[in-house]
């Protein structure tokens, strides 16, 4: 399991965020609040737009609730060559930007898209650029980037459920009436056996430190399991519980609930 958090800051490591386009009613700052449904939107009709993050240190980025069908993620140190005054390049030549790498182009579903990208750890300030392309005005819900704390994956048999806030009533003839509203996923029975130091870290330095604040989490970190469904932006339901069955290891039990 991976969690984007700087345990000293108790947040992620994004220090600045801008976008190539934004609707004044849906500013890019919305990507940094705790609501995946409180959107950043590009200006009306803009199908491709980029989000620029300045990150103090880190190795992963998470983006939630986007209508994009593709995302291209670029990591850069910000270093560039600049010509001295009076010098110019010959036709056909261009300066190389150093420290810039494209981590990949990712296909997304076009609705409620979830993206988690790991990249080579950079302990210095760097830039993360996410170029999103959609079939309509492009938008996204939240973005988090920075340091990643890694733990063992939750044991098999973890449960997944949901809270459905839809309205359901009975009509006079017994037929069902409903009005669909938000459905929020829940994960329960999450359990992992960790070293005692890691158990302390997960409980005290992460979940107890931020309380009910939601976190960017890749629930299953194993590289062979790539389901987007395990990319979540969730809060703990109650503070994690620790059991100390041995002198070296502790068991962590907790439940998570996605936020909207």
């Amino acid at each position: 399991m991976k969690v984007i958090i700087d345990t000293d800051l108790k947040t992620d490591n994004v220090t600045a965020i801008t976008a190539s386009s934004e609707d004044a009613s849906f500013p890019v700052a919305n990507l940094q609040n705790d609501f995946t449904t409180d959107l950043w939107k590009a200006a009306s009709g803009i199908l491709t737009a980029s989000i620029y993050l300045t990150v103090s240190k880190g190795k992963a980025v998470e983006l939630m609730n986007t209508n994009a069908i593709t995302a291209e993620v670029t990591i850069g140190s910000g270093e560039t060559y600049v010509l001295e005054t009076g010098y110019a390049l010959e036709t056909g030549y261009a300066l190389l930007a150093t420290g810039v790498s494209v981590t990949g182009v990712y296909n997304l579903p076009g609705t409620a898209g979830r993206l988690w990208v790991d990249y080579t750890e950079d302990t210095d300030p760097h830039f993360v650029t996410i170029q999103l392309s959609a079939l309509a005005t492009v938008y996204a819900g939240i973005v988090r980037a920075g340091n990643v704390e890694e733990f063992k994956d939750p044991a098999y048999n973890m449960g997944e459920g949901s809270n459905d806030y839809s309205i359901e009533k009975e009509l006079n003839n017994g037929a069902d009436y409903f009005r669909k509203r938000s459905v929020v996923r829940t994960f329960h029975g999450l359990s992992m056996l960790e070293t005692r130091a890691n158990a302390w870290k997960l409980k005290h330095k992460i979940f107890d430190a931020v309380g009910p604040k939601p976190l960017a989490i890749r629930l299953v970190g194993k590289s062979t399991i790539t389901d987007d469904e395990f990319i979540i932006f969730a809060k703990r339901v109650v503070p994690p519980r620790l059991t100390h069955p041995s002198s070296t290891h502790s068991r962590i039990d907790f439940d998570l609930k996605e936020v909207i």
Partner: protein, 327 residues
């Protein structure tokens, strides 16, 4: 979708129960909203005033705009739509006044227009109901015109001289009640509707209202008295009703009292229907509904007199008097 535009620190903020990314960003900032109710003051008519309870906001509404403590008085517009913001139907324009707040919520009461114009003492009226209510109501700043499309075809005569200064809206309401009319205001137009006429109509199927309608009967009015005149109902038992006369002739008064007794003694229903934007029932609208959930099937109708808008559960509750009969 409930949409609330509230002006804080001179800037319009957008709030709703759930988050909706429409033309504006309606953030999920409403925790609770007492269902507003549009109802006439008696079961035989009068001015239907929208009665509001409280609206409770998440403190984030104010931290979004760095205003704290909460603003005491805020202009507010409440709208409802099923689709787009442009298609939203405005339900209320008024003022939200701060009730109180704690760490978790901020509560406001809603206030509509005050209609505080008055009618001078010893003002003499002697004309038709339509003409007199037009005179009184258009003297109120917020009302520009009166629509009498569904008023009684032969508008009854009003003969009355005021005694003491009176609020114009209360005088209009009392006169309308005596002649079994209701008044409601939409925009800047006052609508005068005869309680014996249909202000539009709709017929529901059992797929269009919730289980289960409540049928009820008030204690009967045995007689209605007005000055020196008395009219009896078909029930020799029950309660007496006193009303103020807005005419001096016995025949006119008797007709008015008979209408009042018939309305007061009619069976009543209330039931809920799904809230559909652009299709809210109107006061005075005739609603016919079948009900096959009883030992024998029923076919009933009412005219809407009380509308309760439950925006949290997307439901409109309708109450009124009418007729209940076997199908």
């Amino acid at each position: 979708m409930l949409l609330v535009d509230i002006t804080i620190d001179s800037v319009v903020r957008y709030a709703s129960v759930q988050g909706y990314a429409l033309t504006h960003n309606y953030r999920p900032r409403i925790i609770a909203f007492d269902a507003p109710m549009l109802a006439i003051p008696s079961d035989h008519g009068g001015f239907a005033r929208m009665q509001y309870g409280k609206i409770v906001f998440n403190p984030l509404l104010f931290s979004d705009c760095s205003v704290w403590p909460p603003q005491i008085s805020c202009p507010i517009t409440i709208k409802y739509t099923d689709t787009t913001e442009a298609a939203a139907e405005t339900v209320f324009i008024g003022t939200a006044h701060l009730d109180g707040f704690n760490r978790e919520s901020i509560s406001y009461s809603l206030y509509g227009p005050s209609y505080d114009e008055t009618v001078a003492s010893a003002t003499a009226y002697n004309d038709t109901l339509n003409v007199i209510l037009n005179t009184i109501l258009t003297g109120i700043a917020e009302i520009d015109a009166i629509d009498t499309t569904y008023a009684r075809a032969s508008s009854p005569n009003v003969t009355y001289t005021t005694s003491g200064i009176q609020l114009a809206i209360e005088l209009a309401s009392a006169i309308a009640q005596f002649y079994s009319h209701l008044i409601y205001v939409s925009g800047t137009t006052a609508y005068l509707v005869d309680l014996k006429l249909d202000n539009g109509s709709r017929t529901l199927t059992e797929f269009q209202f919730f289980a289960s309608p409540n049928y009820w009967y008030k204690p009967p009015v045995s007689l209605a008295r007005c000055a020196t005149f008395i009219r009896s109902s078909s029930y020799p038992y029950g309660q007496e009703l006193s009303v103020t006369a807005y005419h001096t002739t016995e025949a006119n008064i008797n007709t008015a009292l008979d209408d009042i007794i018939a309305l007061e003694n009619a069976p009543r229903l209330n039931f809920g229907i799904p809230m559909i934007a652009g299709n809210f029932p109107a006061l005075g609208e005739k609603v016919t509904l079948p009900d096959t959930a009883h030992v024998d099937d029923l076919s009933s109708w009412i005219r809407a007199r009380k509308l309760r808008y439950d925006f949290i559960n997307d439901m409109v509750n309708i109450e009124g008097e009418g007729a209940v009969a076997a199908a």
